[in-house]
Symmetry: C2
Subunit: 325 residues, 2 copies
Amino acid sequence: MAAPKTTPLFNRLALIGAGLIGSSIARAAREQGVVKEIVATARSQATRQRVVALGIADTVVDSNVAAVAGADLVIVCIPVGACGAVAAEIGPHLKAGAVVSDVGSVKGSVTRDMAPHLPAGIHFVPAHPVAGTEYSGPDAGFAELFVNRWCILTPPEGTDPKAVERLAAFWSAFGAKVETMTADHHDLVLAVTSHLPHLIAYTIVGTAFALREVTQSEVLKFSAGGFRDFTRIASSDPTMWRDIFLANKEAVLEMLGRFNEDVSELTRAIRRDDGQALFDIFSERRAIRGSIVAMGQDSAAPDFGRPHPNLPADPLPKPYAADQD
Amino acid sequence: MAAPKTTPLFNRLALIGAGLIGSSIARAAREQGVVKEIVATARSQATRQRVVALGIADTVVDSNVAAVAGADLVIVCIPVGACGAVAAEIGPHLKAGAVVSDVGSVKGSVTRDMAPHLPAGIHFVPAHPVAGTEYSGPDAGFAELFVNRWCILTPPEGTDPKAVERLAAFWSAFGAKVETMTADHHDLVLAVTSHLPHLIAYTIVGTAFALREVTQSEVLKFSAGGFRDFTRIASSDPTMWRDIFLANKEAVLEMLGRFNEDVSELTRAIRRDDGQALFDIFSERRAIRGSIVAMGQDSAAPDFGRPHPNLPADPLPKPYAADQD
C-alpha cells in the first residue's frame, strides 16, 4: 500500500457489500488515506473471494456482525430493499459512537427501515453518491468513480452535525461534491433524474424487442440511431432497480404521470403536423445539455467520447475497384 | 492531398449540404480516394465559408444547380423536408447517367418527394447511413463516422443494379456495412431504433425541466443518475428532427402507441408492488446490450467510455484533516 496522502478521518471502515459502489469506496478510501483500515464483507462467497483476490480491503470477513465489530464508520452498500434486515442484524453489535451510512438510491424508505434498529449513540447519516456505471460487482469498481459527482446526505432531524461533517469530508476526499437535503426531497429529485430515465429505458428496450414487423437482429444492427444509448441504462442491475421502484413508488408514479402527459403533447403535435410546435420544443430542450456539460456533469466529447475505429486500410473490395466509368 | 488509396469509383461527387453527414462524406471520400473531385454547396454562406476554410472539398459553389453540373454522384445531405424542392431544382441540370442519392432518416417520403423530379436516365438510390453525433455543421464531421455503422439503401423497384452496387461500394469504402431493403421497411425499423428514442428523450428532458418541486439546477446537478444520457440525444438538430417526425408520422405514431402500452405494463407492476415482475422484465432486457456490444454497435467500456478525472491530489480540506477520533 502506498503511503497515505492524509491523516485518516476514521480508524476502521466496514463495508457491507462490495459491488460497484462498495468496492469503489474501498479503492478510493485506501488511495486517499481517509481511513486506517478497511474491513469488507459480502453476502456471497464468490464476491468475498474476489475482494480478497483484488486486495482492496485489509480484511474480508464472512458475516455482517463480524464486519462492524470495532468499526468507526459502517457503510451499507447493498440494494435498498435489504437495508432494514441488515440494520436489524448489525444494530446490537455496533461500536458506540460509530457513524452508520448507506449508498442507496432511495432515502426515505432506507431511513424508515434502518433507523429503528440503530441504538442510541450511533450516528445515522444516510447518503447517496449519484455515480455509477452499468456494470456490477467488485471488479467493476474504481477509485475515480465519485470525482466531480454529487453525494447527497439526508441526515434525519437531530443528527449530530459533527457526524454529518465527518461523512461529508469522507466523500469530499473522493472528489465528490456533497449536498444535504431531506430524504423526501432527495426521493423526488432522483425520481426524475434517475428513476424515471431507467424505467423509460427498460420500457423502450422491451417495446423494440417485442415487434413482429422488425426483427431483433435489425434492432441490434441499426441501434446506433439512438436505441443503443437506452440499452446501457437498461443493462443496470435488476435487483437494485426492482428495489428502487418498490421503495420510491409514490414519486416514480407521480413522475410517470407527468411524463405521460408530456408524451401526449408531442404525439398531438405529430398527429396534427404541427412542425412549428415540434421545432420550438426541440430547440428549447436542445439547450439543456450545454448546461450539464458546463456544470461538469457530462463530457462535451461527441457521442459521449465513444471510440471510432480507423478507416479501412484497403477501401475497395476487388469487384468494385475495377468497376469504373 | 495524400495519394489516393484506390482507383476512384466516381469522377465527380457533388454534395448538397455540408453539415455533420455531408462534411463527413467529403472527408471520408477524399481520404479513401473513391472520387476524383468533390464539389460542395450549402444553403448558407457561413457554412460554405467554413467548408472552404476546412479545405474538405475541391470546389465550393453557391448554388445547387452549379454543384450538380457534370457530377457523376450527387448526394443530398439536408433535412428530409427540403429534399423534394432540391430535386425539383437540380433535376433538369443533372448529367445523364448520374447516380443521385441522399442520407435522410426517412426513406418513403424522400423517395416520393424526389423521384418525380429526376429525369429518365438518372439512377436514384436513396440511402441512410445510420450514424451521427449530437453535433451539427461542417466542423462536426469526421472521416471515421461511418466505420462499422450500417448504411441502408432503399432503391425503388426497377433501379439499375449496377448503380446500387456502385453506391454500395462507395459506402463500403468508408468502413460502412451496406444493407438493402424497401423504403417502407426502413421507416418502420428506424421508427423504433431511432425516431422513438429521440422522441422519448425530448419528452423526458421537458418533463424534468417543467417540475415545480425540483429546481432546474437540481436536475442538472444530479443528472449523472441517468438523465444526462437522454440530454445528448435531445440535443440533436431541431430542424432535422422536426422533419423526421412529420415525414415518418404513421410509423412513429404506431411505435408511440406500443410504447405507451409497455409503460403501462411497468406502471402496473410498480403500483401493485410486483417485485417479481419487475425483476423478470429487467433481467430479460438487461441482456440486450450484450448483443449490441457483441455486434460491434457499441463500446463495452463502462459508461460509453466517458472520461473520469483523477482523484484529488490533496484529499482533505484543512478543517477536516485535524478533526479526528
